[in-house]
Symmetry: C3
Subunit: 132 residues, 3 copies
């Protein structure tokens, strides 16, 4: 499998990472996308106190990262959704339903965690995508 | 790698997902399986208050999903095990030892989280499998 | 894709797992590495109460596991970093910056969880690597 090419990058349209990591790693046709938080391209927090707005921004970031590789949300095979409170589950589901109004849906794991990178973040969504 | 075929599905023998996600996504020979909770095929909760029984049901779901693709638990390469309390660790290990009585064992990460999709769930197990 | 070979192992230089799991599963060129805790090769806890020292040990374990397959940390494409308290984030970042002083950096997700396998563990780091 000498055709596995690795590329780690921070695509345009998404804020620069706050620490030493890449937003996405590509290995062959597989994209491993870092957990996305609700920050716009300038790094400003979006949707303070609003889990639905935050989830929308997380998905917008995932979408921008996929687009950098010619991909779409339909290429996501698996997401992991971290929320910091029970109450956010239906709000995040609502944002997800906007993105995926009809099947096929990616696989997903949802867990409630103690916290994310900073207290203002209520939602984090990471993804694995497989391009055509 | 034009031979990567993607398929997202909800195999028979496992409850329909409660939200817009698939139980499993297949990309080539790799299966990304959503975090499984202790629900039987009808969606009824199994093992209320009993982490060992819940873990058994999670593994039963993983097994059913793998079987849909001709796979077995031996095809699991990685699991992630989420539990909601310290006390459940040996109970989940006991269920795991039933499933994998001898090596080789899959890689695994265990973390204690604040909560899962609903309060009655004590254990969630997701997996990545690679078919032959 | 009949060239996918699976191997699950516990490489030398890393403590034997405490339970029935493998430290790493190889599928083709992809390595799925179990969440690593701060234990040395003898199983002794390293860095009690010191998240930076613990993160260093986690990375040392990842490095040893990669080396077993001829890999280096540069082959990591994705890590997931679990910490048990906010305060550990900059400490873990410092250890990470030692390992990855310059780009390219792997993708990463960081979450704060309730707990890890035992109370003395403050940090757990798992990884996916793709070999050449």
């Amino acid at each position: 499998m000498g055709d596995v090419r690795r590329e780690l990058s921070n695509p345009p349209g998404v804020h620069p990472p706050q620490a030493h990591y890449s937003h996405v790693a590509r290995a062959g046709q597989t994209l491993y996308i870092s957990g996305q938080l609700a920050m716009d391209a300038s790094g400003a927090v979006v949707g303070v106190g609003d889990a639905r707005a935050q989830a929308r921004q997380c998905y917008a970031n995932l979408t921008a990262i996929l687009a950098h590789y010619g991909g779409k949300v339909g290429h996501l095979v698996k997401t992991t959704t971290y929320i910091t409170h029970w109450a956010y589950r239906p709000l995040v589901a609502a944002a997800r339903d906007e993105l995926f109004p009809a099947p096929p849906y990616p696989a997903n794991t949802l867990v409630v965690v103690q916290g994310l990178a900073e207290p203002q973040f209520l939602v984090e969504i990471e993804g694995i995508a497989v391009l055509d």
